[in-house]
């Protein structure tokens, strides 16, 4: 089926070349970082993880969010989603590829990455994250590819794929739970030390993932003859609405515990994000932007008329994507390191090379996504013809 990705119109090739150029710039910056070390980033001994790990965390959510198509389809026999499960699976593949690349570019010693496999360490959550992410990638490649090639031949997918599909559903939950455990089990990092972290991660993932999927479905409909379907998009809109409500509710729970208990360590992270701490207010406008977008998304998603209308639903999905990205892809990691173990606040902001590397990884993910979606579209058009 890969050959289908080699036949495309000018717009398709133009988009791929555009992504390749951005990937090239990112690669150039990465070679610079590889030679000089991570000192070319904005990270420091006080904020020792930054933009890379934050993007990784956000994208694990996008990858996990794909399950919101598979789950209703295979566990609730919601047939309409059968048409788009492969879109969810291929989105997960692209997202996990980005996750793995973001981990890779964050390593101080990337050439030693195989040490994680050569010295397996079950007490390290990072070891488990490596297992669940690679496993999820593998599952989605197997499932997506086999389901699609069976569909192309007009057959039902082979029997051995079915247990893998059922396995992939709890596996999606596991990737974001394990990623939350990276943060939620560290003594002395109060902002992260919360039992609801995994639940928060999952709820924001199930809002952001399907929101991105809705936007992708709308783009697919525009650029091809394949229509993912009105009903499908509408159902996804309902899922985004519920998940976003739960996500905002969970964030408010964090506020209650911190500010009713009045324990300084629990309040510091939230104060830093929304008001600024010791005069450091860098993230405050971002977090309020996220709040405004979350409110806008909730309004558009809760009112049935705006949720069902595709234009306003698209606006809501963009708002969900931006809001959850600021929350997880920016605020979460930096606030976890603020204040530092000495109760001091240090600013962190990504440098230009750091941003270009990150954008390069995003471009790589979209490159993979474009090729995979091109194959899906060609197969679907072929069947329809």
């Amino acid at each position: 089926m890969l050959d289908l990705a080699l036949k495309g119109k000018r717009g398709y090739w133009g988009w791929l070349i555009f992504l390749l150029v951005i990937m090239g710039i990112g690669l150039g910056c990465y070679i610079y970082q590889f030679q000089e070390g991570l000192k070319i980033t904005g990270m420091s001994r006080d904020v020792s993880w930054g933009f890379y790990i934050a993007q990784f965390t956000y994208l694990v959510g996008i990858a996990a969010g794909g399950v919101m198509v598979a789950l209703p389809c295979y566990l609730h026999d919601y047939k309409a989603f059968g048409r788009i499960t492969v879109l969810g699976e291929f989105l997960a593949i692209a997202a996990v590829v980005m996750c793995l690349l973001f981990i890779f570019v964050d390593l101080g010693n990337p050439v030693r990455i195989m040490n994680v496999i050569m010295y397996p360490t079950p007490n390290s959550i990072l070891f488990w994250d490596m297992i669940v992410l690679n496993g999820y990638l593998f599952l989605n490649i197997l499932i997506g590819w086999n389901v699609l090639s069976a569909e192309r031949k007009g057959l039902h997918h082979p029997g051995w794929v079915t247990p893998l599909i059922y396995l992939s559903i709890p596996w999606a939950f596991s990737i974001h739970t394990v990623t939350a455990f990276l943060y939620a089990g560290l003594p002395g990092r109060h902002f992260w030390l919360t039992a609801i972290m995994a639940a928060r991660f999952l709820s924001s993932a199930f809002a952001a993932g399907p929101a991105l999927l809705i936007l992708l479905c709308l783009i697919v409909r525009k650029v091809s003859k394949f229509d993912p379907g009105k009903e499908q998009i509408r159902t996804l809109g309902g899922i985004v609405a519920y998940a976003m409500i739960i996500n905002v509710f969970f964030v408010l729970l964090e506020f209650f515990t911190a500010f009713y208990s009045q324990i300084p360590g629990h309040m510091h992270g939230l104060i830093f994000l929304f008001k600024g701490l010791d005069g450091h207010t860098q993230l405050v406008p971002w977090m309020w932007t996220a709040t405004v977008f979350a409110a806008l998304a909730l309004i558009l998603l809760i009112i049935p008329a705006t949720r069902r209308k595709e234009d306003t639903l698209a606006v809501a999905c963009v708002a969900v994507f931006i809001s959850t990205w600021i929350d997880k892809g920016l605020g979460l990691v930096i606030a976890g390191f603020t204040p530092n173990p000495f109760n001091r606040v240090f600013d962190y902001w990504p440098t230009m090379p750091e941003l270009f590397i990150a954008i390069g990884v995003w471009a790589t993910g979209f490159f993979v996504l474009t090729i995979l979606y091109k194959i899906v579209i060609s197969v679907k058009e072929e069947i329809a013809a």
């Binding site: 000089e36 070390g37 991570l38 000192k39 990270m43 420091s44 001994r45 006080d46 020792s48 993880w49 981990i103 964050d106 390593l107 101080g108 010693n109 990337p110 030693r112 990455i113 040490n115 994680v116 050569m118 010295y119 360490t121 007490n123 390290s124 959550i125 990072l126 070891f127 490596m130 990276l182 943060y183 560290l186 003594p187 002395g188 990092r189 976890g336 390191f337 530092n340 173990p341 000495f342 109760n343 001091r344």
Partner: protein, 266 residues
Amino acid sequence: MGVDRRQFLKIAGVAALAGLGGKAAVDILAPGDVEASMKALPLTEGKRWAMVINMPELNDEIMNKCIAACHEEHNVPEFGDPKVEVKWLWKEDYHHSFPDHHNEYIDEKYEHKFLLLACNHCSNPPCCRVCPTQATWQREDGIVMMDWHRCIGCRFCMAACPYGSRSFNWGDPRKAPKDKNPDFPTNINYPTRSKGVVEKCTFCDERISKGQLPACVEAANKLKKNVLIFGDLADPDSNVRQVLSKNYTIRRKPDLGTEPNIFYIV
């Protein structure tokens, strides 16, 4: 009498090593070292190393000498940039070292009294728990060690350490500014690190294996005795246990359950 099987085997092993030409072999590899280790055998046999820092006796001169001795011994370069600095032993005031002991009426002379900080060599170290490659691990004698040749530089240990005791090589230490480090590397018998690995205090494992006290303790002793006291917590008659039984001591963030092994006399 009083010699169990384990001790007997140890004594027999040392005797065999010295008797059967083992000393000659060691002499070729590391001349003079074997005498030192045999003379001071007790220092190499600790079960739980600990340090007591006598805060009232500390002064700037002692602290600076300790830090210089440590950083020279271990080739820790000066970067002159707090963002990327590497530090094994450093000065910090009481207020920031013990942020949970806050008291707004505390006297200025205590509040901003400086003391020495390093890795606490916790008995329950979160850094070792999170390391995905066992590049940092706890030895049987309690020392939290680092393998700079295995570390992949993921910095999970830095996120896990509640004491800010770990430093990352954001750049190549051998490219540290020459004007600040004219003699770098300061100790040719100790490795320099490569960029992209985490490092920290190791309680001078390389020295105690030779029966020598850690470099900072030795440096402090030259100026004043009993400011830094290093010894074995597992031995009820050890120097550190005696000091701990006679003085009121505190540890950094004990409520996190990490069981730090650096104690401060206030």
